[in-house]
Amino acid sequence: MDGVAAQRNWGATGAGTRLTQSQIGFLWSIVMPVIALFIIIRVIPILVVLLMSSTNFNMNRPLVRLLPYQNFFRLFGDPNFVTAFVNSTEFVLVAVPLEILLGLAFAIYLNRRIRFESLYETLYFLPYIVPMVPSAIIWKWIYAPGTYGLANYLLDQMGFPRVGWMSTPQISLLAVIGIHVWKQLGFFVIVFLVGLKNIPTSVREAAVVDGATPWQVTRQVDLPLLKPVILFGVVMATIWAWSAFTEVYIMSQGTDISTGAEIQVMVTRIYAEGFLYFNMGYASAISFVLFIVSLLFVALQFRLLRAEQV
């Protein structure tokens, strides 16, 4: 065994690279608590949800019956679930590209050593650290009907027709997605900016020496090297978009601007079924569908982006 191999097999005293029983035991004792914790916190709740989704369990009804597939079949005939599923899909398809593209654009711009760079970074990041509840309440005022809301007041002052931000079904969901993007954008700007700053300047300089334009440097140097960070961003944005709740919940409370069922997404549906109507069995079925769908989306993203990396 050469010196490097010996160094890798730290503490190994047996022949070759084999670990002794006590070393294996020691490793298990370190790993087991983490695995146990993962099973308790992640695996068991998922199994419990799957089990509950096969029952008619309602917190207000003592009798529980086994419904092996009925809850899942019922989902497809439930207009509330169908609306929520379509809305959540729209949420992901609109919010994720917006967050990633705008996040990248702002990060690339801020990476060019502009004046007041720190100020801009703070401003972009500010919405991310403001809690969602006060943010959504401010947006509620912005979208308020008539000229009592800031958005319509400004449109009115500029001579444009008013918009039914929360009363027009086609616009309401986009308006709520706007809040979500506004809130999360700062996070992606900062993450991408850190990624860009970690790219060695020598690589860019070499490209410039070879005659590359700034756009070519961005496209052929920055973006390929930033791919792992972009993958992280896409996965996080997707998970957050599927699990959007507070902004939708706040915007559908109160008497002035809410549109109720039309802006509902999967998580608000789970909340309504589980905690308003106590239909825990049915809420679990929706949760399980959400889990599977978001898992598939994330797996697909890993496959696509990692495949390109290779």
Binding site: N60, A144, F275
Partner: protein
Amino acid sequence: MRWMIIRIAVLVLAMGLLLPTATWVGAAPVEINIWSAFPELHDQVQWIAAKYMEKNPNIKIKATLFPQRALEEKVAVALPAGQAADLIELDKMALYPYYAAGHLQPLPKNVVDWVKKNFPDYSVASVTSDKGEIFTFPWLNSLKAMFYNKDHFKEAGLTKTPETIDEMMEMAKKLTKRDEKGNLTRAGFDLRLSGGGFGTSQKYWTQVMIPYGAKVLEKVGAKWRAGYDNEVGRKALQYYIDSVHKYKVDSLDFKSDAEAFGLGITSMFQREAWVVGYMAKNAPKINYGVFLMPKGPGGWGTVGNTMGLSVAKASKYKKEAFDFAMFMMNDEMSRATFGDSGWQPFRKGVDYSQLYKTRPQLKTFIEAAQTKGHTVYDYENITPIFEIHSRMADRLMAAFKRADLLDNPTGIAKVIKETAEETNRILEDHGLLAK
């Protein structure tokens, strides 16, 4: 002698061990927790609690305020686990399922006698279960009446308040105002077109279902079914669609509810007595009055749902909790609650004459329950009642936005049929559907 010394020592030791415990038990104040959902009621409970603690220094009352939905969630988790407050304030339709599941303490005999003596019969009936137990105090009455802006009426040349729903629509048309672009600047009639889940269906029930004679639920034997998939149910929805899309006396793009009334941009709207307190605080210059809900071809009445006050079965201090609840509802506290918070106590025989001098609008709410021919409705005591009304509200709010339902009886019939099917499906899920 030695044995005597040992015996005395053991006795002293035992006394020594028991004494601090006895002192601690004797001095420990009883703490009663109460959870509230409305800020104005929370303030009132705190004020009442201070009065009660003056008289009962050994009892400490701790009141905690939550947003309504948060309270409902907290109760859902804590009450079955035996971790909820001693006293819980919620609408009785939200409390009933917990009683049915055995988490609430029915009122004991002496308290039942007191309630039967001091509360109107219909309020006692609304909180009495099929088993004959009273499961919550009928503390407050969320009775609905119409508020109107007197100056708007005068300006439109209207000299009286409407008596029928058709008359109300005609008046609303005269009261409505628009700017040169056609945007609504004053709603003749705020219909409560969105928001708050079951609150929307509650206002719809009061505004049009009762006058047309449609019922959300009708009882058949010991079970129930949707009572609005019929001609009167369709007429009720037609009234709303016409108001929004034909006569345009209200709009989805216009400010609504108490805030709009306080701003003077709504001429008429339906709400509870708490608005009187709200107006005194936020819009004292608005000249307004209150009238009973208008009649219709199918009936006359209003919804007066019950804000209950229940004692948790797991409470360690049930006797004290019941005593404090009764104190909250005595004559003096009822007067203070009505005057300060605007929430209308259910108590009967309380003299409000002094209060009427400064808040004359409150008189209509008290008289509403005593007016002959004017029926006060409350929610049925069945477990899925909240779900039935909330899901109905979701479908109604979606329908109110649909301009294609104007002059479209087939479309309206379809909306009503699908909504009623959902109501029946929920009843069936709970084994309550009448065939």
